[in-house]
């Protein structure tokens, strides 16, 4: 009997433990992903997009701003890293840093222009500016390669104490990316758990009230937007190094749409939800497109069903179910 009781109740507990210490479990899970995915490049793709979705969620999930233009920060990060590596200094650390910085600067400037609007106006404005950047990159062929994309990004070796790390070997590259992902997870976790993180959620729940408590809510939102942009830029920079190529589509609105889908699929209310969403989305896309060329229909149906029946996303639903069972 005792065993049965334990058996019935282990998984809500596990879910609780996981959601109490999401970071520990994400990091543990990271070590398994490359070995359970059909191929290593997919695992790398998942953690890069997971990072992007996580950055996006600072905007959508924590502050309640539905941005439809995050392709801009991802794309600008990609192009900056690529261009810096090609033209300025072939040093990966510097390149990635510049990508992140440029993502933040772009978010700072566009944020200033968009942040005072709310709801649908905010979504349309962010999307319009993102498309503006897309067309700019499309026409500026000398710098970006235009429609053909940015090529010839050098594969510069990364050394540690004089020892070549051979990071372009698939599994090593995964861990190289993972290093950045873990650093940003720690940083984001610190930010969102801090009083500032609480203010973000206060703004999301009731902005006038947060305002009347003395918070400069516009600036708070702006800062959240910049943080979100810098993480997106970092993800973009990693993506550029991952493929040695930046496609013009990385700036297109479909990229923005994809990150929104991932975030909603995984659950925007939680810290790790977006990561899970990115994993599920990319895995399904990969699996379904191998089976049928009409994979989009199936992915679309899954997405619609998720939004209709599990509005809290995959992770949110698991969490809700487990707490309900416990009572």
């Amino acid at each position: 009997m005792e065993e049965q009781v334990q058996k019935q109740s282990w998984w809500p507990k596990l879910v609780k433990v996981v959601s109490d210490h999401p970071l520990v479990f994400i990091i543990l899970f990271f070590f398994i992903i490359p070995f359970i995915m059909p191929y290593k490049a997919l695992a790398t793709q998942i953690i890069i997009w997971g990072l992007f979705a996580l950055g996006y969620n600072v905007c959508l999930g924590y502050t309640g701003m539905l941005s439809f233009g995050h392709a801009a920060y991802f794309g600008v990060g990609s192009y900056t890293t690529g261009i810096v590596l090609i033209r300025l200094w072939p040093n990966i650390w510097f390149g990635i840093f510049c990508g992140m910085l440029m993502g933040a600067i772009t978010a700072f400037v566009l944020g200033y222009l968009c942040i005072k609007r709310r709801g649908i106006y905010f979504a349309m404005l962010t999307m319009a500016f993102a498309q503006l950047i897309y067309f700019l990159a499309f026409q500026w062929v000398d710098l970006t390669g235009g429609d053909n994309g940015l090529r010839n990004i050098p594969a510069t070796p990364v050394t540690l104490f004089g020892y070549d790390l051979h990071i372009y070997e698939p599994l090593r590259f995964y861990f190289f990316v993972l290093f950045f992902v873990i650093l940003s997870l720690l940083a984001l976790n610190r930010i969102l758990e801090s009083p500032f993180g609480q203010v973000l959620q206060a703004v999301r729940e009731n902005e006038p009230r947060a305002k009347s408590c003395g918070y400069e809510t516009t600036n708070v939102r702006w800062l959240a937007f910049v943080i979100s942009g810098s993480i997106s830029g970092l993800a973009g920079g990693l993506h550029a190094i991952y493929l040695h190529f930046v496609g013009i589509d990385s700036l297109y609105w479909t990229t923005s749409g994809q990150v929104v889908m991932m975030t909603l699929l995984g659950g925007m209310g939680s810290f790790i939800g977006p990561f899970i969403g990115a994993g599920i989305f990319l895995y399904l896309e990969d699996m379904l497109s191998a089976l049928t060329s009409n994979w989009m229909i199936f992915l679309g149906v899954i997405f619609v069903l998720c939004v209709l029946f599990f509005p809290a996303g995959v992770w949110g639903t698991i969490k809700n179910l487990s707490t309900r069972k416990k009572d």
Binding site: H21, F138, N148, I153, L160, I182, L243, F245
Partner: protein
């Protein structure tokens, strides 16, 4: 197992310090320890020879992609029937790129890193080709490209690993421009899709036109994916050109041809589509393309022994005649595999030596590999759309523009190569 883990975690009750310590240790070991159990992947020397073939099966070029696949499959089936290459069977690995360059790059990466393909081919659209080419250059995999692009044979994109079996936009404009200048008058108007492909077309025509005294009387650039061209038509009519070039592709070409027909432009000028695809003609119908001329690398009714053999074999396997993209894929895949057979190994330098400077005739007449940039020199056919007597009987070849003596190609110096030396850039020293 899960239970044990849970117990540990709950009982120890991770506080912030232990948490930071653990994550610190974990992160450190990611960088150092994690690397030790990795071995560098090795190329397989036994088993089948694998050919990676990423193509845009979903998306607007799905029809062409399916023909690419059928062409490559035919080439490989024929080679396997004769005992394979170097005594090994050949295997084709197809992947969907969704006509997205980043996706194409990722698929190529997967094929190289996880499937360990020996040779890469396929891909449609310039951007996708260049993205896949990047991956191939990085890993030292020979890549025979079977769709049009100028950049792929140009520095810094090309390398010893890059081969371009298809025509490039420049060749097309030189051949079509020459024919049009001689036959249809010297006042040219361009309706151009506003991106690299369209610009390259216009530049190529203006350059060729100058040699024959033809000049541009105007150009209208339209955004990619425009559906309404009616506002452009009065300007074109007012410029009174002899020839209207539609420098666009796919749906845009069909829509602009339809509206040009509706506005009665055909009565006043000749309409030219530089690249006239059978799939566009079948998709757009007879009316809009009636009397339109254009260039192509291959048309299935052409009268040439190797072409007839290829068409017969393709029709037997697929129940329909091949389009030009099937021809590229068939010719390209066959040529590189036969190159491996002659070279006796997959060594990139030996393979290049076995292919460079070779004259071959796989499906359309004599072709020649230029050593300095690995571009295939070939004839271009001028075709005219006609009233169809049967389902696939849609064009008539009105002229063969010879490609002999590099007359349609950019010079080696123009593409950034040394004319007297074969291309050896990008060669990776294997340990």
């Amino acid at each position: 197992m899960a239970e044990g883990k849970k117990e540990q975690v709950t009982q120890s009750g991770i506080d912030r310090r232990t948490f930071i310590k653990t994550t610190g240790i974990v992160t450190g070991s990611v960088l150092l320890g994690g690397f030790h159990f990795v071995r560098l992947s090795q190329a397989q020397d036994t088993g089948p020879i694998k050919v990676g073939f990423p193509i845009p099966l979903t998306g607007p070029y799905g029809t062409e992609a399916k023909d690419q696949q059928a062409g490559a499959e035919l080439a490989i089936a024929q080679i396997n029937a004769k005992g394979g290459i170097l005594g090994r069977k050949v295997e084709l690995l197809v992947r969907d790129t969704k006509l997205n360059a980043a996706e194409a790059a990722r698929r190529a990466k997967e094929l190289i890193e996880s499937e360990h393909v020996h040779i890469m081919s396929g891909v449609l659209s310039a951007a996708n080709q260049l993205a896949v080419n990047e991956q191939c250059k990085l890993h030292g995999i020979p890549y025979v490209s079977v769709s049009q692009a100028n950049e792929i044979t140009q520095r810094p994109d090309n390398s010893i690993y890059t081969y371009h079996e298809a025509m490039d936009p420049h060749m097309t404009t030189q051949a079509v421009g020459e024919y049009v200048a001689k036959k249809y008058g010297k006042k040219w108007y361009f309706l151009t899709s506003d991106y690299a492909y369209g610009w390259q077309m216009t530049d190529g025509f203006i350059r060729r036109g100058k040699e024959y005294g033809a000049k541009s009387v105007g150009e209208t650039k339209h955004p990619l994916g425009t559906s309404d061209y009616s506002s452009y038509m009065p300007r074109i009519l007012a410029a009174k050109p002899d020839v209207l070039f539609l420098n666009n592709f796919g749906k845009d070409q069909i829509n602009s041809a339809k509206q040009a027909t509706a506005f009665g432009l055909k009565k006043k000028m000749q309409i030219v589509c530089p690249i006239l695809l059978m799939s566009s003609r079948l998709g757009g119908g007879e009316e809009p393309f009636d009397g339109v001329i254009g260039g192509t690398s291959f048309y299935w009714e052409m009268n040439h022994p190797t072409a007839k053999e290829f068409v017969a074999a393709f029709q037997k396997a697929n129940g329909r005649p091949p389009i030009d993209y099937a021809g590229y894929a068939y010719g390209g895949v066959k040529e590189i595999l036969m190159g491996v057979e002659r070279a006796g190994s997959l060594d990139p330098t030996k393979l290049a030596e076995a292919i460079e400077g070779r004259t071959y005739d796989n499906y359309k007449g004599p072709q020649w590999w230029r050593p300095c940039d690995h571009q295939s020199q070939q004839d271009v056919f001028i075709i005219k759309s006609k009233k169809a007597k049967a389902e696939y009987d849609v064009f008539q070849i009105i002229q063969t523009v010879s490609g002999k003596g590099e007359r349609l190609l950019r010079t080696c110096i123009e593409v950034g190569q040394n004319p007297s030396k074969p291309i050896r850039s990008g060669l990776i020293e294997k340990k």
